[in-house]
C-alpha cells in the first residue's frame, strides 16, 4: 500500500464482491462491548477427550457462512479428521483473557481450550512463563509455509510453539470528506479539521509505535526515554483537546457516527469500513512507517496429549495455502501463509492483489514490529501509557 496510492481505490473495486464480515462489523463497537458481557458468561466446553478440540479466537476472525451459521473451513476440517473442533470467540482483549485463565495455568488445571490465539507481545509472555507446549513438528508439515518475515520473532525464534494466525497492520484511517487529501503523516492527523475528533488505539505498541516512527525512532530498538517522550506527546494532544478518545475496535463506530474524523486504526477494520461506506473512509500506512503485529496459534501447557495432537492437526490444516486463502478472503487481515496468494487467484482474483491481505515488499518494508519488552518495562511503560489516557 504505497502512500501515493492509498487503499480505498482497490477497496472500492472490491466493493460489492465482498459481503461476508462487513455487515456484522457495522455495529463493531456494540459487539465488542457486548462481548465484554458475553466474556463474563465464560464458555469453553468441559470435555477434553481424544476426539475433541477447543479453540479460543477473536470475534469475526474465521470464515463464516451466515446462511448455514457455520464456519466452512472448520466444517471441512471436522469432516476430514473426525475431530469435533469447537470454536469459541472468547477473545476480547489480551489482558482480559490472560487474567481469566492465568490462575488455572499456574495450577496446571485445564483452562478449557486446546488452542489459544494471543497477540505477539502476549504470546511472548505465555512462552516466557512456560504456559505453552512445543509443537511436534511431525504433525505440522505445513510449518514451513509461514512467511519469511514472520519466521523468527524474538519471542519464538524457531517458531517452536507459535504460528501466526493473521497479521495486523496499523496505520491512519480517515473520513475522506473531512480529509480530502488523506492522512499520511502525523501532521496530517493533527490537522485543524480533525481537532477533537481524533481517536487512537488502546494498543500501546500500535499507537505509540506510530508516533515514535514519525519522530524518527526505530521501534525495534526504542529506549525508555524515547518511549516516554512519545507518551508525553500523546498526553499533550489529549490535554489540548486534539485526541477525543483512546479506544479498541469501537473507533470504527466513532468513525461511522461522525464523532471521529481521523484515527490510528487497524487495516482489517478499515478495509471493511471502506468497502461498506463507498469511499467515505480510507486507510494508509504512514509515510514514516506503520506497525505490524500478529495473533498466534499456540497450545497451552494445560492441553492434554490428545488435545495437543488435535491442535497441531488444526494448525497444520490452516497452514495449507488453499485453506489460508479461504480464510483471508473473509477476514481481510494480512495472510501469513506462503502460497496463499496464488490460491487466492483462483477463488477471488481481485483480492489476490489486495495490499490489505498480501502487502507487497515495498509496503512490507515500511511495516515494523515493536521490540519485545522486559517484564519491568512492560509494567512501567503500560503504566505511563495508561496515565496519559487519564487512567
Amino acid at each position: 500500500m504505497a502512500t501515493e496510492r492509498s487503499l480505498s481505490l482497490e477497496a472500492r473495486s472490491i466493493l460489492g464482491a465482498r459481503i461476508s464480515r462487513r455487515g456484522v462489523l457495522v455495529g463493531a463497537g456494540g459487539l465488542s462491548a457486548a462481548g465484554l458481557l458475553a466474556a463474563c458468561g465464560g464458555s469453553g466446553a468441559s470435555k477434553n477427550d481424544a476426539k475433541t478440540l477447543r479453540w479460543a479466537n477473536w470475534p469475526l476472525y474465521l470464515d463464516f457462512d451466515s446462511k448455514t451459521k457455520k464456519y466452512p473451513t472448520l466444517e471441512k476440517f471436522k469432516k476430514q479428521t473426525g475431530i469435533d473442533a469447537q470454536y469459541f470467540e472468547d477473545y476480547n482483549d489480551n489482558d482480559e483473557f490472560f487474567g481469566k485463565v492465568q490462575a488455572q495455568l499456574k495450577l496446571g488445571q485445564d483452562i478449557g481450550y486446546d488452542v489459544v490465539t494471543p497477540t505477539d507481545w502476549m504470546a511472548a509472555r505465555w512462552i516466557r512463563l512456560g504456559y505453552t507446549q512445543k509443537f511436534d513438528l511431525a504433525n505440522i508439515p505445513n510449518h514451513g509455509n509461514i512467511l519469511d518475515s514472520l519466521k523468527s520473532p524474538s519471542y519464538d525464534p524457531k517458531r517452536e510453539s507459535s504460528l501466526t494466525w493473521q497479521g495486523i497492520m496499523s496505520g491512519f484511517g480517515w473520513n475522506t470528506a473531512k480529509n480530502p487529501k488523506g492522512v499520511r503523516t502525523l501532521d496530517d492527523l493533527f490537522a485543524p479539521q480533525n481537532k477533537g475528533k481524533i481517536v487512537v488505539l488502546t494498543e500501546m505498541r500500535d499507537t505509540i509505535g506510530i508516533i515514535l516512527m514519525s519522530q524518527g525512532v526505530d521501534i525495534t530498538k526504542v529506549t525508555e526515554d524515547q518511549f516516554m517522550n512519545a507518551v508525553d506527546f500523546m498526553a499533550k494532544k489529549i490535554a489540548d483537546g486534539w485526541i477525543r478518545g483512546v479506544k479498541g475496535n469501537d473507533y470504527a463506530q466513532d468513525l461511522t457516527s461522525g464523532d471521529a474524523t481521523a484515527v490510528i486504526g487497524w487495516s482489517g477494520d478499515m478495509f471493511i469500513l471502506a468497502s461498506e461506506n463507498a469511499g467515505k473512509f480510507d486507510f494508509a500506512i504512514p509515510e514514516s512507517g506503520g506497525t505490524i503485529s500478529g495473533d498466534n496459534l499456540m497450545i497451552p501447557s494445560t492441553a492434554s496429549p490428545a488435545g495437543k495432537a488435535n491442535g497441531e492437526k488444526l494448525i497444520n490444516y490452516y497452514y495449507d495455502p488453499t485453506v489460508a486463502a479461504e480464510v483471508a478472503a473473509y477476514v481481510n487481515y494480512v495472510c501469513p501463509v506462503k502460497g496463499a496468494q496464488a490460491e487466492m487467484e483462483k477463488i477471488a482474483p481481485e483480492l489476490a492483489t489486495s495490499e490489505y491481505i498480501f502487502p507487497t515488499e515495498k509496503t512490507a518494508a515500511r511495516l515494523h514490529v515493536f521490540r519485545s519488552l522486559t517484564p519491568d518495562e512492560e509494567t512501567k511503560w503500560a503504566q505511563a501509557f495508561q496515565k496519559a489516557q487519564g487512567n
Binding site: L36, E96, G196, I243, S257, A382, Q389
Partner: protein
C-alpha cells in the same frame, strides 16, 4: 414424641444460607483483596507476579497518584444523584398519587430499561448524543450549541448517562415511601389551613425522607464506582476511579494498586454514607 427444633437454634439455621453466601462471595474475596493490596513485585519476576511485603505505602501512592480521578468520581456521582432525585421525585409523586389505574403500567415502564443490558443502553446513549444522532444537529440548528461543540466525550455525557442508568434505583424507593403516606395526613394538613406548598414541605417531604435517603444511597454508591459510563461516553479527561482500577488490573497487571484503590474507594464511600445518614437522621431506616 414429636421432633421439634430447640427454639434457640432456629434463627441460626435461617441465617446460615445467607452467612454462607456472604462468607464465600464477600468475606473471602475481600480478605484476598486486602492481602493483595500490600504486595510488591517479585524482583526479577514476570509481569503480574507479586509477593507479600506488607507495603502499606501502596495505599498512599495509589491515592496520591489518582486524587484527580477520586475527586471526579465523587463530583460526578453527586451530580448524577442530585439530577436523578430532581427527575425521580416528581415522577414517583405522580405515580403514587396521580396515576390512578395506570399505576402499575407506569411502574413497569420505570423498570422496563432493566430488560436490556446496562452496556447496550449506554452505547445507545452514545448514538443518541453522537454527531449524527438526533440531539446534536437539532441543538446546532437551534443555535443552542456551537458548530464545533460536542456532547459525547464530555463530562455532560458521562453525568447524563449515569443519571439515566441509575434513575430507576432512585424512583422505586421514592415511590415506595410516597405510596405509603396516609392520605389522611395530607387531608389533616389542609384542615389545618395549610396550603399545598406548605403541606408538601411540612408533611409529604418529611414522610418521604426514608425513600429519599434510600434512593440517594442506591444511586450514589454504584455511581461513585461506575466505570462504564465514563469509558463509553467520556474521554481521557473524564476518567473516574473505576476506570483506573480496571486499567490497573487488566492493562498494567498491577493487582496491588488496583486492590488498594478498591479499598480506598470503599472506605471513602463508607465514610461519606455514614456522615450522610447521621445528618439525614433516619437511622430507623438504614
Amino acid at each position: 414424641m414429636s421432633f421439634t427444633l430447640p427454639k434457640v437454634r432456629v434463627p441460626y439455621l435461617l441465617l446460615f444460607p445467607g452467612f454462607a453466601f456472604l462468607f464465600t462471595f464477600f468475606i473471602l474475596p475481600i480478605a484476598n483483596l486486602a492481602q493483595t493490596s500490600t504486595q510488591t513485585p517479585i524482583p526479577g519476576g514476570d509481569t503480574g507476579q507479586y509477593q507479600q511485603t506488607f507495603a502499606f505505602s501502596n495505599y498512599l501512592n495509589a491515592f496520591l497518584d489518582n486524587r484527580e480521578q477520586f475527586a471526579r468520581s465523587f463530583i460526578y456521582a453527586t451530580l448524577a444523584t442530585v439530577f436523578a432525585l430532581a427527575i425521580a421525585y416528581p415522577l414517583a409523586y405522580a405515580i403514587a398519587f396521580k396515576s390512578g389505574k395506570f399505576k402499575n403500567i407506569f411502574l413497569v415502564l420505570v423498570v422496563a430499561p432493566f430488560f436490556t443490558s446496562f452496556l447496550l443502553r449506554t452505547i445507545a446513549w452514545k448514538q443518541i448524543l453522537g454527531e449524527e444522532g438526533f440531539v446534536v444537529p437539532t441543538l446546532r440548528n437551534l443555535h443552542v450549541m456551537g458548530q464545533s461543540t460536542t456532547i459525547t466525550s464530555t463530562a455532560v455525557a458521562v453525568v447524563a448517562g449515569m443519571t439515566y442508568n441509575f434513575l430507576p434505583f432512585m424512583t422505586l424507593p421514592l415511590y415506595a415511601s410516597l405510596e405509603r403516606i396516609d392520605p389522611r395526613t395530607i387531608e389533616a394538613s389542609g384542615d389545618l389551613y395549610a396550603n399545598g406548598i406548605t403541606t408538601f414541605r411540612r408533611v409529604t417531604v418529611p414522610l418521604s425522607l426514608p425513600g429519599v435517603v434510600a434512593g440517594t444511597l442506591l444511586t450514589f454508591i454504584p455511581a461513585a464506582g461506575d466505570y462504564v459510563n465514563a469509558s463509553i461516553l467520556g474521554s481521557p479527561n473524564t476518567k473516574m476511579i473505576g476506570n483506573v482500577i480496571e486499567s490497573r488490573y487488566f492493562k498494567i497487571v498491577d493487582y496491588p494498586t488496583a486492590a488498594a484503590l478498591s479499598f480506598t474507594l470503599m472506605a471513602a464511600i463508607l465514610i461519606l454514607v455514614t456522615l450522610y445518614i447521621r445528618k439525614a437522621g433516619t437511622e430507623e431506616l438504614v
